[in-house]
Symmetry: D2
Subunit: 346 residues, 4 copies
Amino acid sequence: MDWMGLKDEHKLLRQDMKRFAETELSSVVLEMDKKGEPLTSAMKKIGEIGGLGILISEEFGGAGMDFLSLIVTVEELAKISPSFALSVAIHNFFGEAILSYGSTEFKKEYLFSLSTGKMIGGMAVDTMNHPIPSNGCEERLVVNGTFSDIFGFSVKIDEKEQFVVKKKGEELKEETEMMGMRSSGISSFKLDENAMSEDKRFNIDSANDFYSRMRLLLASVACGICQASLENAISYSKERHQFDRLIASFGMVRTMLADMASRAYASRIVVYQASSVNNVLDREIASVFTTESSLYVTDKGVQIYGGYGYIKDYPLEMFFRDAKVLEVFAGSADYRKVLIGKSLTS
Amino acid sequence: MDWMGLKDEHKLLRQDMKRFAETELSSVVLEMDKKGEPLTSAMKKIGEIGGLGILISEEFGGAGMDFLSLIVTVEELAKISPSFALSVAIHNFFGEAILSYGSTEFKKEYLFSLSTGKMIGGMAVDTMNHPIPSNGCEERLVVNGTFSDIFGFSVKIDEKEQFVVKKKGEELKEETEMMGMRSSGISSFKLDENAMSEDKRFNIDSANDFYSRMRLLLASVACGICQASLENAISYSKERHQFDRLIASFGMVRTMLADMASRAYASRIVVYQASSVNNVLDREIASVFTTESSLYVTDKGVQIYGGYGYIKDYPLEMFFRDAKVLEVFAGSADYRKVLIGKSLTS
Amino acid sequence: MDWMGLKDEHKLLRQDMKRFAETELSSVVLEMDKKGEPLTSAMKKIGEIGGLGILISEEFGGAGMDFLSLIVTVEELAKISPSFALSVAIHNFFGEAILSYGSTEFKKEYLFSLSTGKMIGGMAVDTMNHPIPSNGCEERLVVNGTFSDIFGFSVKIDEKEQFVVKKKGEELKEETEMMGMRSSGISSFKLDENAMSEDKRFNIDSANDFYSRMRLLLASVACGICQASLENAISYSKERHQFDRLIASFGMVRTMLADMASRAYASRIVVYQASSVNNVLDREIASVFTTESSLYVTDKGVQIYGGYGYIKDYPLEMFFRDAKVLEVFAGSADYRKVLIGKSLTS
Amino acid sequence: MDWMGLKDEHKLLRQDMKRFAETELSSVVLEMDKKGEPLTSAMKKIGEIGGLGILISEEFGGAGMDFLSLIVTVEELAKISPSFALSVAIHNFFGEAILSYGSTEFKKEYLFSLSTGKMIGGMAVDTMNHPIPSNGCEERLVVNGTFSDIFGFSVKIDEKEQFVVKKKGEELKEETEMMGMRSSGISSFKLDENAMSEDKRFNIDSANDFYSRMRLLLASVACGICQASLENAISYSKERHQFDRLIASFGMVRTMLADMASRAYASRIVVYQASSVNNVLDREIASVFTTESSLYVTDKGVQIYGGYGYIKDYPLEMFFRDAKVLEVFAGSADYRKVLIGKSLTS
């Protein structure tokens, strides 16, 4: 179903991204996932069609589109490669951070390069969603870490949260091998306090609001995973026979498809809706609901594929692992729920 | 959160219904639930403010409002009394059936009385959502059965589905005592084939489309239950102490509230969205998702109330039972999912 | 399946209790549940066959049987009436408390009457499993409160836990009307600190160990509910037709029966096993697992019964409510899990 | 907790296997899992201490131990390497098949080699648990396929099920890369009907009984996974700080540990119990319950590890994937439940 708030421009953008994903991603995605390598050449190509500066205003070389446009972009890419969609989401969001908090000078220096993909940005994330203490003793994972030129993270200094922009250097350890999201170039990173003097730092007015938008972007990765898992499972159930019947005719398969569809549907609607209002709580609720849904949906999808759901030559195997790992970057569901509950009762 | 599709007229209507429910329902609802008696005097009063002819066009004495208006009405009433909301939903939907399928003569005879509440309508429902075979051998439950003047049900005759309107007579057995929805006047009913000659019968063009709208109405009862359970649980958690702390400060309570909020939120958005498009599958997905969510939400609510969640003087005890029973009228979730899965693969 | 630790004496006892339940309970249980009245005459009769002094040694007029015997008794009674089984469990456990902690004089005074049922005992329970503070400001629910002659509860005085035995008096408020366990004579009770001087008080050596055995007894009520729900659902599925087929032939019904059987089976085995070892943690794990299982199993059972699962003339409706309320007396699952987790990590 | 049916010989065997796993498996398991390579040298070594002929009678060079001994062995190995445990389970069970159904001549030819590990056996499995049709058109996965010398599978010929023993040949395709169980040497296999004339074939008297024992063995892999995930998570929670507190002090972590413990505990008890009775239904219930439990337990474990739960240098990441894939070899839970339900109602 199409949500009532989608405009023609969003639908056109979706078509473009769908075409891009099918042309540039689908043939290589499973192979690169096996190797754990990022899709850097596709990253360059999506820059050529404007996909790396979606939120950046035209004066800095971007497309100047709205947040829903980025949501739709990320969702559509995630249907073929959740890893790549995560990389694109984080790069765009890093640009958004510069645009929101950077000095004019800094914007001029970086935004043109980021918009076109000459420079790739990354972000350090944390399952607990809290800034690095200024003593630097905590480790973080950096999305796009292995191939980005620059990356950002939050630090807490004197009880205030600052956004730090760092050029890639020695602190970024080698690739961290994870269960999923294996083409997102994840590195682990530990802040060297002494090296911070060279970094650019910006005040973040409202960190909750800021990061809740990032989490909604990650939720749109989950939406794409849900939708693609559903579509793949429907197709598979109409091709695969068991006991001389199409499995689509089995009550149990139908029930699982219905459960998948119901979560996929609800996830998309709540993410679109939350992206259209200016409300942190709505975004947090939408993103935790959607991340959980993607686990639920991919798990059912794997079951519908039977033995083939566990084999690396079929997409569900990857979607399942990617959905599982997504919660690392979107933040631990348990912790986010505690914060939502706190917000509801205060 | 308010959905983007709600207009001012819907918001005003919601305010009216909220005031009505607080004035006319809240003081009696728990007592009537214990006794298992319908709220007939409130039924009369809501007729006086137009609540019984919401969809009926003005030429027949109704309010001529849209389907979303009825959704909002039912949702709002359900926050205080799910049973009463069910009765109002079914009465209005019975009127809609006459309006859609009845002859002009028949409309003139009944719609004025139904709009004003001079006459109350009921409907026979089935967990399997299928029409009564013309040989009449199956039993049905009738919502509003104990106090309605007239009621309708579907019959399958020669492979075609017809909507039958019956004046209340002997076939309606005494009240059926159920776990929940105890103020909806549920009766059991068995069709006497010989008596059918006196009934009015109408062809139903598209039974799936027709009943999917009824199920979406029942989903709005579930939405009201979710919302009220959440609000009650939030209030309670801010009053109740345990181990000398407000329970709202416990991580576990916060997590449960977040889970409740996330389902309550998603349910409302998908029901509103599904009510605004002309698509059977969207309605079916929205209603099965929402009915299941109300079970999930009330179960968490009961847990937050602790021992008081199981005692008949507190609203959660009733909401939990009402949510559980709602699935009888909305149709068995299992069966509906099989149909959704069939639709997805055909 | 029969567990390997059951001896012939346990199997004979089970047969006796099965016969008793079928003769004395089955014809009245649903009616008394509707009315919310206790099965006092059956209580008297089970006293006549030794069911009220199972753990009490022969010197005080009891049967002097082992704890597993009481587990089997309670489980078997719960298959017909969980409320009655709860009453019997609590009465027997109250006797056990006197036997374990009472003075010789006190034992002589009360145990003969308790063994034969001349006197009925009750217990105050708490979802949080903690003793009443000596300032008495907390309310408790008393099982058998409306019809017992004497009842017990824990009080915390000077950081020590004492077991208080109270003759029935004014502090016991009227019956508390609950969602389930409606024939267990539940009353609410608030301690009047001034009145405590007349009560008998005993030191409890190890309250955790003591109450963990009570909770295992309540788990055996859950086992009975699971088993009976499964058996009822199997029978029903072999009688009920839908779409001209027995519902036992539907994949979905079979799957639900398998899920029910698996939980019912596991619950019994872990309760029997935990009753045979002297280990608090095993008992706590067994009882929280079993209480949750009974909710899961009855919920599936209600679904298999379809519309009839929600109607008060069928047993599943009652089993479902009884299972839900059981957690009030066994203690909130959430809280118990926190304690288990604490124990596992210390 | 130790189950009451474990004898000293089982406890000693457990100690031996624990020592073996710690010495021979723990240092290489994560590395081999990453590479997707089998632990062939450990396979040889476990043969030297009698672990490859546990069920084979002494006359054929085996240890002549009981089924519970094999259960304990497999469980203990699975705590370090579920893949290796699967390989050992399947090898031993293949030997059991020869012992049960083979001709004396055939036994003499193969059992000595299998007992000592000179020859390694494999088995073809199917998520639907049904034999290969004699026209051979269905694909199967073979455990130990890449490194075994000989393997077995069931074929349906003229409505009868036969066990076919095949020497490794061309039909075994290359390694199949799976999500988990990556060190079990899984290959895919398609029967070449023409080549069957060279195979040895044996009648299976009661295939259900036969394979239910294999599935119980796989359930013991699940038991090991549950137990090790719990133990790892407990240790981790006592080392890891968050917000300056040990995570073992958080209510949410405690609750998750309790849920893990409860399933781990119940799983072991039901598997041990089912291994001690001669009842297919008990075995099927125990194995489906246990396989599902291992998914539940590892999922919680991953959450307790936070971000580290998803990284390949920590054991939970592997346990989670192994548990997920286990259901392929134990048979699809959905399908097995339908069979259990059928058995319960017939």
